[in-house]
């Protein structure tokens, strides 16, 4: 029992260990960022952090906002549950961050969002697509489109291409996939299209011949496959083997290293929607790509571009709010309208989601190719 004092000692000295508050200039605008720099979703976190850092550096090089420079404090949540809450509390109460940027993964954003809400600190998620994230409260925003939006975009694209009969192949295990299909159907049928067949599969399936054969008999103009790259690659291969020549359509779940490795040339002539393309010839995008390349020696991906936009939109809102007061800043972010960001023209809607354009990518000769931008 004599160890109890030791235990107590350890507990008591806890604040002592940690009271090393960094000194910082009064004048700086402290922005907190939490990202998965290590762990399972590190590749997303690293990219978004690089984008955010690039934006902050650029803003500071231009003299900051309202005559004040930015200071970005980034903390790693190791892709672990429990960590986002801890570090966002730290960013808000220790570092006195005036706004929080992060995370890519919805599960991490959902943990941090209630804390930002309770402290009246605006939070901007660059890439959490789960609709529940912004439902937490009126201080939580996102600048990516949510899943259902992509369904509408692809429907518009299909109608524009003149497809009248489309078959569906939905992954029933993924909310993402079900959401995309639902909104695709809603928009497509309301605008004169017809869904000729509605087939389903589950994540992890390997054989899709039964569904594809039944789709083939209906002779569709295209097949909408809002799945993830693993299954989509197999579906494309098997569809071509069965002699289905029509294009496949999909969403950003298609983007994955192994997609084209597995599918080879069978996805040629297919289309999918995405957040951003480095091949977009718009001067703003090309400028961003060049700066990113110069700083990090690699082309930016979706997350990098979204991270960059999240910081830029925050800076824009601070400028319009004329200060960093939580409530005023919140109102300013909510009032963001037609902001010309790298990933499209962004307007924050009344549900604090971004209404913005998506890019359509085509696949040609087993490579991605930027095709066009579709407005909401």
């Amino acid at each position: 029992m004599r160890i109890l004092p030791i235990l107590k000692h350890a507990l008591c000295s806890l604040p002592l260990f940690l009271t090393a508050t960094a000194a910082f200039a009064q004048n700086e605008i402290i922005v907190g960022e939490f990202a998965s720099l290590t762990g399972g979703s590190a590749s997303f976190g690293q990219s978004s952090h690089k984008g955010t850092q690039l934006a902050i550096d650029e803003l500071n090089a231009a003299g900051g906002v309202l005559g004040r420079k930015f200071k970005l404090i980034t903390e790693d949540d190791q892709s672990l549950a429990g960590q986002p809450a801890t570090i966002v509390r730290k960013l808000i109460t220790q570092d006195k961050a005036i706004a929080i940027l992060g995370e890519v993964a919805s599960s991490k954003s959902l943990e941090a969002a209630p804390i930002c809400q309770q402290n009246n600190i605006p939070m901007i998620s660059p890439a959490s697509t789960n609709p529940k994230v912004t439902e937490v409260g009126n201080y939580v925003f996102r600048i990516c489109f949510i899943d259902p939006f992509q369904g509408t975009v692809m429907s518009k694209f299909a109608l524009g291409k003149g497809y009248k009969k489309v078959a569906l192949l939905t992954d029933v295990k993924q909310d993402y996939s079900v959401g995309l299909s639902e909104f695709f159907v809603k928009h497509f049928t309301a605008n004169g299209g017809a869904i000729v067949k509605d087939q389903k599969f589950s994540t992890g399936d390997k054989d899709f011949k039964a569904q594809l054969t039944s789709i083939k008999t209906t002779k569709p103009d295209a097949i909408f496959v809002p799945g993830y790259y693993g299954e989509v690659a197999l579906i494309a291969k098997q569809a071509r083997q069965l002699g289905i020549k029509v294009p496949l359509l999909g969403g950003d779940g298609w983007v994955g290293d192994s997609l084209l490795k597995v599918a080879g040339n069978s996805l040629d002539g297919c289309f999918f929607s995405s957040h951003f393309s480095a091949e977009d010839k718009t001067p703003a995008v090309q400028d961003f790509v060049k700066k990113y390349q110069a700083k990090y020696g690699q082309a930016p991906d979706d997350m990098g571009a979204l991270g960059y936009d999240s910081a830029m939109i925050l800076a824009d809102a601070i400028k319009r709010a004329g200060g960093t007061d939580g409530a005023k800043l919140r109102d300013a972010i909510a009032a963001t309208k037609d902001y010309k960001a790298i990933t499209g023209v962004i307007t924050i809607d009344e549900k604090r989601n971004a209404s913005k354009s998506a890019v359509i990518m085509a696949i040609e000769n087993a490579g991605f190719k930027f095709l066009e931008t579709v407005a909401p």
């Binding site: 350890a10 507990l11 549950a81 801890t86 570090i87 808000i92 959902l110 909310d175």
Partner: protein, 376 residues
């Protein structure tokens, strides 16, 4: 001895009650770490009963924590479980009306037969859950929270029993694999359990966990485990650890002791899960994966299997160490290279683990504490 431990327990709880208004006002970041320490304590002390005192190797502690977290949250949010539908052996009237030739594939029969085995059992459990929920909801204030915690703990203990009885016939590595498998089953089931948010996680859990309850339960866990192990009855656990065959020859029902250890550990893991859910206000199946189990096992091994105070110290140390390193990386007075090293805090963390294991393979306090206290 018995009286003294009880006295200390009461004194501790009184001290926590007296301290809690003081600690309630502390910086939320430190408060967050403090609560995490409390939760780690409960988890590690519980697991120590299985891995340390009883000498079994369980790798599925996070699974029990998940059960507790989800059921306590379901209680607080009033989530009812929908009953499973009985399997369909023949086409329904509607299907026959649409297609007179409709049949139900014969090959599905064996799978449906599984329903006869487990379906009714699951529905019976759901029925119990759906009837217990209103009982808890009727309780006022803290009663509801405590009821939720105990409910989560009780179901986790039940899960411990169901896993324990068939699998504790296994030894060593084999048991580790089985418990690991259980952990994964829980995670996968939760990932597809729609009433509790499936893979999207469960947001919006009310904030109820505070300093007082967390540390009262931590003290209770320590008290219960300490007293069990130091009772006449508890010699059985140690006998199982030291030599199972000899213990069996002496007439000790080894299976009973092992199952009992499992049930008690699972109960406290469930309580810890409930505290976790009501503090972080968001839970996701990914937060209770295999890595979480490993974290707890590391606390037990580092502290010294079967050393109560060593395990407590390790739980405290391993919870605050990453945060201390986070702080060190931000101290601007330190030279650049020192901060650079601290940046890679997860490497330092791992290095400290390796060094401690090399220097004190028997655990942090093993040896010098034992001499001063009664042999354990």
């Amino acid at each position: 001895m018995f009286e003294r431990t009880k006295l200390i327990l009461v004194a501790c709880i009184a001290a926590f009650a007296a301290l809690s208004p003081l600690i309630g006002g502390m910086n939320p970041y430190y408060f967050n770490i403090l609560i995490s320490v409390g939760i780690s304590l409960i988890l590690a002390v519980g697991l120590n009963l299985v891995n340390g005192y009883t000498g079994q190797f369980s790798l599925g502690h996070a699974g029990f924590m998940a059960v507790g977290a989800y059921l306590a949250a379901a209680m607080s949010l009033g989530i009812l479980f929908p009953y499973l539908d009985p399997p369909q052996w023949a086409p329904t009237a509607e299907e026959l009306a649409a297609d007179p030739q409709a049949t139900v594939a014969k090959w599905t029969y064996p799978f449906k037969a599984l329903w006869l085995l487990f379906g009714w059992l699951i529905n019976a459990l759901f029925w119990c859950h759906n009837h217990i929920i209103p009982l808890g909801a009727a309780l006022p204030g803290w009663g509801k929270f405590l009821f939720a915690l105990f409910y989560g703990g009780a179901i986790a203990a039940l899960a411990g029993l169901t896993v324990g009885v068939p699998s504790l016939r296994l030894k060593g590595d084999y048991l580790a694999i089985v418990t690991l498998g259980f952990n994964e089953i829980i995670r996968v089931v939760l990932q597809s359990a729609d009433p509790v948010g499936a893979s999207r996680g469960l947001p919006g859990i009310p904030l109820a966990t505070n300093f007082f309850w967390t540390f009262t339960f931590a003290a209770l866990a320590i008290y219960v485990v300490w007293n069990i192990v130091h009772s006449t009855y508890g010699r059985g656990f140690l006998a199982v650890r030291d030599d199972e065959i000899a213990a069996e020859a002496m007439g000790i029902n080894t299976t009973k002791y092992k199952v009992l250890a499992f049930v008690i550990a699972a109960f406290f893991a469930g309580i810890a899960g409930g505290l976790y859910a009501h503090f972080f206000q968001y839970i996701n199946p990914e937060g209770f994966n295999f890595m979480k189990s490993v974290d707890i096992v590391v606390m037990v091994i580092l502290g010294g299997m079967g050393s109560m105070w060593g395990v407590c110290a390790a739980a405290v140390l391993l919870t605050i160490l990453p945060e201390v390193l986070r702080k060190v990386a931000k101290i601007e007075a330190l030279p650049e290279w020192a901060r650079e090293i601290a940046e890679n805090r997860m490497i330092i963390y791992s290095l400290i683990l390796i060094i401690l294991m090399l220097a004190r393979p028997q655990g942090l306090f093993a040896g010098w504490v034992k001499k001063k206290t009664r042999p354990a």
